[in-house]
Amino acid sequence: MLSFIGRSIIQKIITLFFVSVVSFLIIHLAPGKPSQVDPLNPKFTPEMVERFRKEFHLDKPLYIQYIYFYRDLLTGKTVSWKDNQSVLKKIWERFLNSLPLFIVGTILTWTLSFPIGIRSAIFRGGLYDRSSTFFSYLLISIPGFFFAYILIIFVVTRFHVPVIGMETFGLGASSWTHMVMDRIWHLLLPSVLGATGGIAILSRYVRSQMLEVESQDYVRTARAKGVPEEQVLYKHALRNALLPFVTMFGLILPGLIGGSVIIESIFSWPGMGRMAYEAILARDYPIILTVNFISAVLVLAGTFVSDVLYMVVDPRIRL
């Protein structure tokens, strides 16, 4: 166990190094340069561009730039090229904004998908199963932004639920409870929307897992022992059906930083995804690369967590 942890940490550090090199190269190979974002802008005189390039080491060879960048990142001194603010601080602020959206969305997805999928599997072929299948495929096939706009129109005209930003503008003076309620109202629609796609996909997956496990021999053995049907399903079958989801649970960690660009843009939510998107448009390399690096760390941490979890829940796996 300990040797597994040590080994996988070393492996993951090596992977991380390669990720950092490749992502650095890709960003620099991409068309467009930060110094030429707006060549028509009269403020961007050749001298200014030259000064800009010097200041951010863009005149140096790539490998020197690479070393400078990761030196700054690891010492926490990286600054955005756009406004000279600390990148880590900017990301942290945006991260705190995205966090509630992520948490509520994840909780909704994981708590709703399982009951829906399990019920479909138990009553397969019935009316409930067929209608949940229909709605799942409907939600999977409708593009998220389109569905979002339909919902917005419906919700705004009917229930007056706010759909812009994280809080109502200029509410600073009102009472504490009022502010909390305002926040929750703002959170409602984006997180529900963020979750629907996940619920549609995950519940299908739960259903097929459950169906597969239900036809296994050990489920028949449990029935032959005289175990009541609920116990057969929720103890013998479900315990085995859940195993693959342990892996998936580790892999939702990267979602923490990626956020949802589309949802955040639609609802003007000042979150991570939107910041990364804007940084890409502005060729703000430090922000892009830092976000990239952090999500790589989270992906690796996620796979590590799911490996460990797998070992805990499945007695057959010894690493």
Binding site: R220, T221, R223, A224, K225, H236, R239, N240, D314, R316
Partner: protein, 330 residues
């Protein structure tokens, strides 16, 4: 006739699909007396396993459907019981050992969890005595150092040991009848012999009945008191072991016996019955075996064969051999 424990009467079990109906059991009748070992013999796909699973009613319905007949256990028709009443029978009065020891145990629970569960669903007992019973059961089925094996997960055991655990689980509540569905098919020959001996030994010690399902006539000769030969969802011949082996009166039974490798002369080709079992969705209304039969006459293709009585409970569904009175002994 008080001695009869299980009596299956004219049981019909169909699988009903969207376009086809597979008649898995087409009026099967058999009996198991107390303390008796009865073998159901037949090739793959002839309905042996279905007939066992139907007794315990653990085939999902739909797609399966019981179309008629009775399953009398101690005089009570199991087909009339509610699901809750049936749960009290399963494992408690009738227990089952399955074919595949590799997949029949739940991989995420320990041996102890699984044997314990078999006891706990039927009896109110405290934890300590359950543990002792688990250990005793593992001892009974011949597992060395049972205390340690209890903590093992199924994947840590060999195939033979897993089958022993399955048997221990089946015996947990001291059932009156154990149904063993090809319990040795997946095991190698030496283990197979050990498991068979174990069955014999346990049966004598515990006064239970055994319904043993197999396609292996070698096994049958060793353990059976009485034999039922199944073909395409019906019983084609039944009788005492010696009658069936020395005086087979149905062409199918004769074919099975001829196919035993031990009977062939060295160097000669092994015998096999030509053709395959008919598709259960397109069975003829006549004798299901007639397309493969050497003795078939025209009537075989038009009439359903009647039962012919040879005495001593030896019955066969082949009027042709009966009327010619020339049961061909090989």
């Amino acid at each position: 006739m008080d001695n009869i424990l299980l009596s299956v009467q004219d049981l019909k079990f169909y699988f009903i699909g969207n376009e086809r109906v597979a008649r898995a059991l087409d009026g099967v009748s058999y009996e198991v007396s107390k303390g008796e070992t009865v073998c159901l013999v037949g090739e793959s796909g002839c309905g042996k396993t279905v007939s066992a699973l139907t007794i315990l009613r653990i085939i999902p319905q739909p797609p399966g459907k019981i179309m008629g007949g009775k399953v009398l256990f101690n005089g009570q028709n199991l087909l009339d019981l509610s699901e809750e009443e049936m749960q009290k029978i399963r494992g408690n009065h009738i227990a089952m050992v399955f074919q595949e020891p590799m997949t029949s145990l739940n991989p995420v629970f320990t041996v102890e969890d699984q044997i314990q569960e078999a006891i706990m669903v039927h009896e109110m007992v405290d934890e300590k005595s359950v543990r002792e019973r688990c250990i005793q059961l593992l001892k009974d089925v011949g597992i060395p150092s049972p205390e340690e094996r209890l903590k093992d997960y199924p994947h840590q055991l060999s195939g033979g040991q897993r089958q022993r655990v399955m048997i221990a689980m089946a015996l947990a509540c001291d059932p009156d009848l154990v149904i063993a569905d090809e319990p040795t098919t997946a095991l190698d020959v030496t283990i197979q012999a050990q498991i068979l001996n174990l069955f014999q030994e346990l049966k004598q010690k515990r006064q239970m009945s055994l319904l043993y399902i197999t396609h292996d006539l070698g096994v049958v000769a060793n353990i059976a008191d009485r034999i039922y030969v199944m073909y395409a969802g019906i019983i084609v011949e039944q009788g005492d072991t010696s009658n069936i082996f020395h005086n087979p009166c149905h062409p199918y039974t004769q074919g099975l016996l001829k196919s035993l490798p031990g009977r062939a002369k060295r160097g000669s080709k092994l015998h096999s019955i030509p053709g395959t079992v008919p598709d259960p969705a397109h069975k003829p209304g006549s004798c299901p075996f007639h397309p493969r039969c050497d003795f078939a006459i025209q009537a075989c293709g038009t009439e359903f064969p009647r039962v012919c009585d040879y005495g001593e409970g030896h019955l066969s569904r082949c009027p042709v051999l009966y009327e010619n009175k020339v049961p061909k002994v090989n």
